[in-house]
């Protein structure tokens, strides 16, 4: 390859990267994440606020600054700052002065996180990352008081799309978290061999025996052989989530597994806000285009009216454009112009709503063979389905 060809190839690659970073995509998923992140921030700040109400802040007890020059605020100002963070989180969630309140929430959480090494936990690091992503993205143009106020003033809505780079970065970070965790276990012979999980269970054997679990379950859980295989399953689960989220064919499975993974962690360990944040952040993996699936329904039929109501209330990611049809079953035209009708169409719709997706995604696999799919005349892919 000549130097000219190499330079040309490099320029081409850079141009593709620039195109990807600048590509205008829907900020809908980040708007939803913004709403969900508000309560997570409040949960995160709660112990600091409770301590402050009891007259104790971080430096009254063992703490360790990262660097000596990090600004330490007077006590009253620090406590005020925490309350400002909480108020900003509520406003951020509501979408009130969104850019300002999201940046403020991020600044307060970040300042507090880096005050002391003792403040650092993985779940707080993830919250820092999510808030950073939200702070740089225009995620208040939908699902917000700002958008509502704009409508009230008779102003045209702001463009709900923006360059996709904050979304791509958040996806990278989310994936890196699962990947780093899985990789560290994969490279640790004690972990991959099952010694770590087995030892942890054995340390809690007395507590386990005191639960209503049948003795054979306790016996199975404390069987070392089980952990030889279970540890590998855990590692592969984390790595599967990290990788599977990137590809369309595996994304829904990865999301479903990730929800199970977070729920099992929440049930078995104290991880502060990690589970809530981990599940909430899964919305960033939705294809960043909106209303690009047509849902046709006969609103004179009671069952279809019920579905229409559910979609109106629960389609938080704006997956569907609802159109009224005269008669006949529910009809969905997917992004690729494939058509689903009847029961499979209903399950498909429910599998795309954040609240019902986890329950219906497995049904989609079961019905895959039974679903009747047709093609509309126009097979050209929808512009929003580039990803």
């Amino acid at each position: 390859m000549t130097a000219l060809e190499l330079a040309s190839r490099r320029a081409g690659l850079l141009a593709r990267v620039d195109e990807l970073l600048a590509r205008r995509v829907s900020m809908r998923s980040l708007a939803l994440l913004r709403i969900l992140a508000g309560p997570v921030v409040l949960l995160h700040l709660r112990p600091f606020l409770v301590d402050a109400a009891r007259g104790r802040i971080y430096r009254d007890v063992f703490s360790q600054p990262y660097v000596s020059w990090y600004p330490q605020l007077p006590r009253s100002l620090y406590i005020t700052l925490l309350w400002i963070g909480a108020a900003a989180a509520i406003a951020m969630s509501a979408g009130l002065w969104t850019r300002l309140t999201t940046a403020t929430t991020f600044a307060v959480v970040a300042y507090n996180l880096f005050l002391s090494t003792t403040h650092f936990h993985n779940n707080r690091a993830y919250l820092f990352i999510v808030l950073a992503g939200l702070a740089v993205a225009p995620c208040g143009r939908e699902l917000s008081v700002d958008a509502w106020a704009r409508r009230r003033r008779g102003l045209p809505p702001l463009d709900p799309t923006a360059p996709g780079w904050p979304l791509w970065l958040l996806r990278f970070e989310a994936s890196a978290i699962y990947g780093a965790s899985g990789l560290s276990k994969l490279l640790n012979p004690d972990w991959f061999g099952g010694a770590v999980t087995w030892d942890r269970v054995m340390q809690s054997k007395d507590k386990l025996a005191a639960t209503p679990l049948p003795s054979w379950v306790v016996s199975a859980l404390t069987d070392r052989t089980l952990h030889v295989y279970a540890a590998k399953l855990i590692v592969l689960t984390e790595l599967f989530i990290a990788v599977g989220l990137w590809w369309r064919g595996t994304r829904y499975a990865a999301v479903w597994v990730a929800v199970c993974f977070h729920l099992s962690i929440e049930a078995s360990a104290d991880v502060e806000v990690f589970s809530y944040l981990g599940i909430a952040a899964l919305v960033i993996w939705a294809v960043p285009s909106t209303r690009d699936r047509m849902l046709g329904m006969d609103l004179s039929a009671a069952g279809q009216r019920w579905l229409a109501t559910a979609v109106r209330r629960l389609d938080w990611l704006a997956r569907f454009r609802v159109e009224e049809t005269r008669r006949g079953p529910v009809r969905v035209v997917d992004r690729d112009r494939r058509v689903l009708r009847g029961g499979p169409a209903v399950i498909f719709v429910l599998s795309r709503l954040p609240v019902t997706a986890w329950f219906t995604l497995p049904l989609l696999v079961v019905l895959r063979g039974a679903a009747t799919r047709e093609w509309t005349d126009d097979r050209a892919p929808h512009p929003g389905s580039r990803e």
Binding site: D159, I177, K185
Partner: protein, 156 residues
């Protein structure tokens, strides 16, 4: 909706800035993940539940007259449990899980000894604090190490 012809045009600075911001975040994250394999504190390395290791420590105050007084006993109006409340260090004399790994736990305990030595001005007897730590790294045999704060009578 803002018409397409009124959307902001990408300037060269904007393109380069975007490229740089993304590159910095990606590279920094990868470096922090790599750093987690050698650092006691594993910020942004996301190594979750890394070990089943446990530890306990006998923490004492060594006084000017060489008495070794356990910190489980209050002294000069101070209580260890009130001074050190986080990172599983509140009751070091009990065996605990090292939830972020033994190295991390030892680093925090060492720092806690220093902090207590520096933040107990009413105590005029203690020369230094010392922790005799026994830890069980996963299923390995127990190991004992001794951590010590700086001498409170000596130069800082």
């Amino acid at each position: 909706m803002v018409p397409c012809d009124r959307l902001p045009v990408d300037t060269r600075a904007r393109i380069v800035g975007r490229r740089a911001a993304v590159a910095v975040v990606v590279v920094a994250q990868l470096l922090l993940i790599a750093r987690g394999y050698s650092s006691a504190h594993k910020e942004f390395a996301f190594q979750m539940f890394p070990e089943s290791s446990t530890w306990r420590a006998d923490v004492v105050r060594v006084t000017d007259d060489d008495r070794r007084v356990p910190v489980s006993e209050p002294w000069s109006g101070y209580r260890w449990e009130d001074l050190v409340t986080s990172r599983g260090l509140q009751t070091p004399w009990m065996r605990h899980h090292a939830d972020a790994g033994v190295d991390n736990q030892l680093a925090f305990l060492g720092a806690a000894l220093q902090w207590v030595a520096d933040h107990t001005p009413r105590d005029h007897q203690t020369r230094y604090l010392e922790a005799t730590v026994t830890y069980w790294h996963n299923l390995d045999a127990p190991t004992t190490v001794v951590l010590r704060s700086h001498d409170r009578n000596g130069p800082p």
